[in-house]
Structure formats: structure tokens, C-alpha cells
């Protein structure tokens, strides 16, 4: 196996995302050398198993985006004035901004005026129980294998299912309520827990943070809200399944999760979308707040439609995820398995504000066919004795382009900060690419920063060895890829890890053989 050790320490200005500038960046590109594996690489996007469309009449905003659209959404949701004002402020900021161009992504121009910014399944009043949920929706969930109702109970998962923007069913609320845990749709949180929302909304990702966060802040339709009270350990994995469905509807989720002092919560987010011919824009914002000694574990499996073998269609996924360790010894851990979307632009980050706080980022990103991913993290060390760990695994196949972009920043007061970063790239075939772009900025002399990177390629010898032991090419590939991702997959909650392993195999179907 050709193995290349790349090591780089850079003192450079932070990610351009923060500043809207485009600093010169070093691109450590590794293009796979040609060999006979090439003959195995054939594009086959029909491995996408969740490509079906549910027939539900949507209640949509007219296409286009102006102040009227923002007001329409806010009115539709029956929001208080402060939130409308907040949205309008975001919208005005957004109008002044331009989309970021520093990522290594080839993006066709997006017609923001051609999109629909609100669409909801028609429902006069919210369903009180599963019986009231549209059977079509339930069938869709069934096809996706989402554990609602009985299955949720068996799996011990409380599901706040978001279907096209509006929450349809929430389970386990009672049990959580006994512990004082709030887990509800964002809209409900605005109505029932307005002060909490108002206090924390935008406190980690400000409205003007970046182009897509500003857009989301203006037009977000729904999402999830979690509050865990002091000292409470949430007894189950909280889980939300997203699904983009109605044609031409961009989806703008907003998640706000607050773990109060000494609490613990594990949150799962999994996504699949039906097959579509045209690009769908998705710009979510996730904000996490961990107070003193609180711990948040946030896991994502993302499997949106990646486009077909020719690169047609697929979701554009521009997500801003950020957590603030606001208290001492707080901990935030991100784990993501990104297999879908035509374009992924995503940097789940940690602001390590509290002394002794800990940030973690574990990531697997797969690009096959014409998929592009530019993903990574930002670890901003602000408090003393803060530490962070970054383990990023990128897998490229077909004509996929996979970029790790990560920033480690140690601020002047962050004494004894510590970071360990490891990013590994695996190449399958000779037409894909892997790129590693680390930014390291250290402003305190006591910091200890490590960055390790490797690039390897699945070799013909490995494939033959597996074949000689009786494994089919698909099985061999799945075995090698799962082995490569093991350090990340083991961070996922059990039920998610199984799903993720299957997903890795499905995502690479057709890349070999």
C-alpha cells in the first residue's frame, strides 16, 4: 500500500469562513496513481435505495425570497415579534453577503429566487398521536426503517421526526418530561419555551456568521430543540430523522441544544432523501451549548441523494454546526458519517471557552461518482487547559473529490491547550482525489499541537488477498473500508454504528466490480 505521511504546521489566519476572505491555502493533493483497479471503478448510482417520493400535497410559499417571504414564514408559524425581527435582521445581513468561494468545491450557480422556502404537509392541527399521522408519511418512515412507535420503544429511541419542515410525531415526551428534559420541535419551543430560545438562539452561530447561516436564520422553517436541566443524564439517545421531500423545496433546519450544568445528552441525527433530478439546497444550522461540566454527544449519519453516476441531481448540503463549551470542564463531541449529497460543505466546530473544556470531532466522509465534500472542523481554544481531538477519515471513489479542511486555533489566554489531529485519506481507483488543508494558528507558547495525515490506496494485492479467501469484491471493499473507519464508527451509538456500516457499503456499491 502506497503510504504517504504528510505533516504540516501552519501559522495562518483562521478559516476564511469567519472573515469572508480567501487566504492562500496549501492543498496537499493526492491523486491516485493508475493501476488495474481502474477497471473495477464503474459508476453506479442506482445503489441509492431510498429514492422514492411520497405523494403529499404541500402547503408552499411561492418561489422566491424577499422580506415578504420571511414574513410569510414567520406568520405561518405564528411567531412572536422578536423572532420575526430576528429573522428580518438575518435577512438584511444575508442580502449584503456573497456565497463563500474558498472551499474546494465546484458549485453550479444556485438560483435563490427560484427556490421555495416553506413547504409543509397539509394538516389543519398537529397530530396528537401516531394514529393521527398521515399514513403516507408513516409508510415512508417504514421504508426508511425509522423506528417510530413500537420500534422506537424497542430501540429506546425518542424520535422527533421532521418531515419537510414540520414536526409530525414526537414520542417519549412524557418520560423525558419527568426528568425535566425538553425535546420538541423548534416551533413548539418558540411557543412553549420562548425565553430559553430567545436567550440562546444565535449565541453560538450569529445571524451573520456566514452566507448560509444568515440564509437559514432568515427562513428556517422548523427543527429541533433540546434542553437538559442541571445534573440530569438523559437516559436515551435523542434522535431526529430528517427527510427532504417536496420538489424544489430548500430545507432549512434549525437545531438548538442546551445541556445545563453537569448534564449529559446524546443526540442522533440521520438523514435520507428521495431521488430527485434537480439540485436541492439544504442549509441547516445546529447550535450546541454545554454549560459547566455538561457533555453533549452529537452524532450524524447523512445519506442524502448524492446525484446519479453522471453527477446529475443530488443535494447541496451547506451546514453550519457549532458547539460552545461555555462552562468549565464542558465537553462536546461531534461524530459524523457523511455519505450522501452532491456537495457537502460542513465544519462542525467547538468553541472551547470554559477552562478544562474538551472538544472532539470524529468524521467519515465518502465521495463516490461526482460527489464533492469539503468538510472538517474548527477547534477554537479560548479557555485554559482546553483539549481537542480530531479524527477525520476521507474515502474517495469514482470521480469523487474529498477535502479535509480543519482549523486549530489557540487564543492568547488558552494556556496549556492541547490538540491532536489525525486525518487519513483512502483512495479507490484513479480518478478520485483527496486533499488535506489544515490551518493551525497558535497564539500561546504553551500549546501542544499535533497533526498527522496519511494517504493510502486500496491495493490490487489487498483485493486479491481477500478474493483468495472467498470474499466478493463488494465484501472485500466493505471490510477494508470499515476497517479504515473503525476509530470513527466506534464513537457512534450502537444502533447507529450498524446503520452506518451498512451505509458505507451501499455508498460504495459499484465503485468496485
Amino acid at each position: 500500500m502506497a503510504r504517504q505521511l504528510l505533516f504540516q504546521l501552519r501559522q495562518e489566519i483562521g478559516l476564511a469562513e469567519q472573515r469572508g476572505s480567501n487566504p492562500a491555502m496549501s492543498d496537499l493533493a493526492a491523486i491516485a496513481p493508475p493501476d488495474a483497479l481502474e477497471s473495477f471503478v464503474s459508476a453506479a448510482a442506482d445503489g441509492y435505495r431510498y429514492g422514492f417520493v411520497t405523494d403529499i400535497e404541500a402547503d408552499e410559499a411561492p418561489p422566491g425570497l424577499d422580506e415578504g417571504t420571511v414574513r410569510f414564514i414567520s406568520a405561518k408559524k405564528g411567531e412572536p415579534d422578536w423572532l420575526l425581527a430576528w429573522r428580518l435582521k438575518a435577512f438584511r445581513r444575508w442580502q449584503q453577503m456573497t456565497p463563500p468561494d474558498w472551499a474546494k468545491l465546484d458549485i453550479a450557480p444556485i438560483d435563490y429566487q427560484g427556490s421555495i422556502y416553506y413547504s409543509a404537509p397539509k394538516q389543519k392541527t398537529g397530530p396528537k398521536s401516531l394514529d393521527e399521522v398521515d399514513p403516507e408519511l408513516l409508510k415512508t418512515y417504514e421504508k426508511l426503517g425509522i423506528p417510530l412507535g413500537e420500534r422506537a420503544a424497542l430501540a429506546g429511541v425518542a424520535v422527533d421526526a421532521v418531515f419537510d419542515s414540520v414536526s409530525v410525531a414526537t414520542s417519549y415526551k412524557g418520560k423525558l418530561a419527568e426528568l425535566g428534559i425538553i425535546f420538541c420541535s423548534f416551533g413548539e419551543a418558540v411557543r412553549e419555551h420562548g425565553d430559553l430560545v430567545r436567550r440562546y438562539l444565535g449565541s453560538v452561530v450569529p445571524q451573520g456568521d456566514n452566507f448560509f447561516a444568515a440564509l437559514n436564520s432568515a427562513v428556517f422553517s422548523d427543527g429541533s430543540f433540546v434542553y437538559v436541566p442541571p445534573g440530569v443524564r438523559c437516559p436515551m439517545e435523542l434522535s431526529t430523522y430528517f427527510r427532504i421531500n417536496a420538489a424544489k423545496s430548500g430545507q432549512f433546519e434549525r437545531t438548538l441544544l442546551i445541556a445545563d450544568k453537569g448534564s449529559y445528552v446524546s443526540y442522533l441525527e440521520g438523514c435520507t432523501a428521495p431521488q430527485r433530478d434537480e439540485h436541492q439546497l439544504h442549509a441547516a444550522v445546529v447550535e450546541l451549548i454545554a454549560l459547566d461540566e455538561a457533555e453533549i454527544k452529537y452524532s450524524t449519519v447523512q445519506n442524502w441523494y448524492p446525484g446519479d453516476a453522471e453527477g446529475k441531481g443530488g443535494i447541496y448540503n451547506f451546514v453550519t454546526k457549532r458547539g460552545a463549551c461555555r462552562g468549565a470542564k464542558a465537553k462536546i463531541s461531534w461524530t459524523q458519517v457523511e455519505t450522501g449529497s452532491a456537495i457537502t460543505w460542513k465544519y462542525p466546530s467547538c468553541l472551547l471557552e470554559g477552562d478544562g473544556s474538551v472538544g472532539e470531532f470524529y468524521s467519515v466522509a465518502i465521495t463516490n461518482n461526482y460527489q464533492q465534500a469539503d468538510t472538517g472542523t474548527k477547534m477554537i481554544h479560548i479557555g485554559r487547559n482546553t483539549s481537542s481531538t480530531v479524527i477525520a477519515k476521507g474515502i474517495s471513489a469514482g470521480r469523487g473529490q474529498n477535502t479535509y479542511r480543519g482549523q486549530v486555533k489557540v487564543m492568547p489566554k488558552a494556556a496549556d491547550a492541547r490538540n491532536y489531529t489525525q486525518c487519513d485519506s483512502l483512495l479507490i481507483g484513479k480518478t478520485c482525489g483527496a486533499h488535506t488543508v489544515p490551518y493551525i494558528e497558535v497564539r500561546h507558547p504553551g500549546a501542544q499541537i499535533e497533526h498527522e495525515a496519511t494517504t493510502s490506496k486500496i491495493s490490487e494485492d489487498q483485493m486479491f488477498y481477500c478474493a483468495q479467501r472467498g470474499l466478493s469484491q463488494e465484501d472485500a471493499l466493505s471490510l477494508i473500508v470499515n476497517g479504515f473507519c473503525k476509530e470513527v464508527l466506534k464513537e457512534l451509538p450502537m444502533e447507529f454504528a450498524v446503520e452506518a456500516q451498512k451505509l458505507l457499503a451501499v455508498s460504495l456499491e459499484g465503485s468496485v466490480g
Binding site: 481477500c466 478474493a467 483468495q468 479467501r469 470474499l471 466478493s472 477494508i480 479504515f484 473507519c485 473503525k486
Partner: protein, 252 residues
């Protein structure tokens, strides 16, 4: 008795090159152990690669029947599932993939093919323990990634352990003795001897007569310049050790 392997006038080359095998004839019956010896460049490894179906080789003539089936028309993984096992001269490292996990996946693939039920984790563990006891080898390799950081001896030992687990009908041992010290050679040879079975055929490819002191073959063949130039019983090997290959090569 029906033959397990019948090779007739086999010609093969590395894709685009000149023929390395220039008319191999070899017949192996169930339960037989054949040793194929020969100097460097004789085509020994090419023969094992072609029989196992390694990509990058071309068969340019002749035939090979395995249990009456056209072996050369099967993909490498199909041959393996049909019971053909190659102990690699240079076992391949697969970082991140646990040795046990790998072996279980392989064993279940083979079992599916045979119509046998797949083994769950505890059944598999039981089978592993039995084979370890049979081969008299430790379990130190099982928790590590496939061949990663293994010494030469450990790699070969692992190959024989895989063979024991997969229970092939035809095992091709490609220079299994190379790079082994005398103790490791004894462990590996003992393992192979315990896997001898009336239903299992073994083809050993080796440079040295030394291996044949430990694993006694029924037949010995000398391969030179792509052809088998001499065949006989074990005494042929002893003769070779004494006189070298030169007289046979020139005779051919």
C-alpha cells in the same frame, strides 16, 4: 479415483509479456501431496498465481480442470469458495481489519457457498479454539490487524491457520518455507501435516528440499523454464539437493 486437479498443456504469461508457463501438465488426486521445485525464474509463482486467478496474468493456451470444472473460467473469489486455497508467499497487510473479523467473513463466505449455516461469533470462537489446539499455535495473532506488523514467521503461521479454518480441498503453498527459521518451519510444517486428509490435496511450491524433510510429499516435480522436466517420488528431491537443477535443465 477422480482427479481433483487436471492441468493440461497450460501456457500463461504476465499480461502483455512473453509466456512464462510453456506447457504444464500436472494431475493431482484427492489426498495427494505434490511438491513442485525449481530454480528461480522457472515459473513456480506464476503457476500458483494462475491457478488462484490473480489479476494481471493471461492464460494463452491449455486447460485446468478443478473437480471437473473449468477452473480458468472462475473468478478468484469463486475458486476460493470452491475450496481452492493459496498460502501466499508474501501475505498482504490489511490495516484496520481485525484478523478474526476477516477470517470470520471469509469462513462464512465459504460456508454459504457450501450451503452450510453461517457461524455466529460464539460458534466461530469455538471453531477457532479447536483449530488453534489442533495446530498447536498460540492465539496472539488473532486480535491484530490482518498481517500488519507480523514477522515473517507469524505471517506464514497465520496463512496455515486460515487454511485450517477454511478447510480447502486443494491447498497451494507458495514458498511457505521461505524466510522461516528452523523453529518456525517446524511449527508451520506440523500444522500442514495435521491438515493432511484423504479428501484434501496439497501442492507445495518450494526452492528447497528442506521443507520436504518436514512435509513428506507423495510426488516431486521439477519445474524449469515453464515446463515440468522431471517427476518422481521423494527421492527425486534428495537427488536434486545433491546434484542441483543444472543437469535436468540442460536435459530439458
Amino acid at each position: 479415483m477422480t482427479k481433483l486437479l487436471e492441468i493440461h498443456d497450460l501456457h500463461a504469461r504476465i499480461a502483455g509479456g512473453r509466456d512464462i508457463l510453456k506447457g504444464i501438465d500436472l494431475t493431482v488426486a484427492p489426498g495427494e501431496v505434490h511438491a513442485i521445485m525449481g530454480p528461480n525464474g522457472a515459473g513456480k509463482s506464476t503457476l500458483s498465481s494462475v491457478l488462484a486467478g490473480k489479476p494481471g496474468y493471461e492464460v494463452t493456451g491449455g486447460s485446468a480442470l478443478y473437480d471437473g470444472r473449468d477452473l480458468l473460467n472462475l473468478a478468484a473469489d469463486e475458486r476460493a469458495r470452491a475450496g481452492l486455497f493459496l498460502a501466499f508467499q508474501y501475505p498482504v497487510e490489511i490495516p484496520g481489519v481485525n484478523n478474526m473479523y476477516f477470517l470470520r467473513a471469509a469462513l462464512n463466505a465459504v460456508r454459504r457457498e457450501r450451503g452450510a449455516p453461517e457461524l455466529d461469533a460464539s460458534q466461530f470462537l469455538k471453531a477457532v479454539k479447536e483449530k488453534l489446539a489442533l495446530l498447536d499455535i498460540g492465539d496472539d495473532l488473532l486480535r491484530r490487524a490482518v498481517n500488519v506488523g507480523f514477522s515473517g514467521g507469524e505471517k506464514k503461521r497465520n496463512e496455515i491457520f486460515q487454511m485450517a479454518m477454511l478447510e480447502p480441498r486443494l491447498a497451494i503453498l507458495d514458498e511457505t518455507d521461505s524466510g522461516l527459521d528452523i523453529d518456525a518451519l517446524r511449527v508451520v510444517s506440523n500444522g500442514v501435516n495435521r491438515l493432511r486428509d484423504p479428501q484434501r490435496s496439497i501442492v507445495m511450491i518450494t526452492h528447497y528440499q528442506r521443507l520436504l524433510d518436514y512435509i513428506e510429499p507423495d510426488y516431486v516435480h521439477v519445474l524449469s523454464e515453464g515446463r515440468i522436466v522431471a517427476s518422481g517420488d521423494k527421492s527425486l528431491a534428495a537427488d536434486l539437493e545433491r546434484r542441483g537443477y543444472a543437469h535436468l535443465v540442460s536435459a530439458a
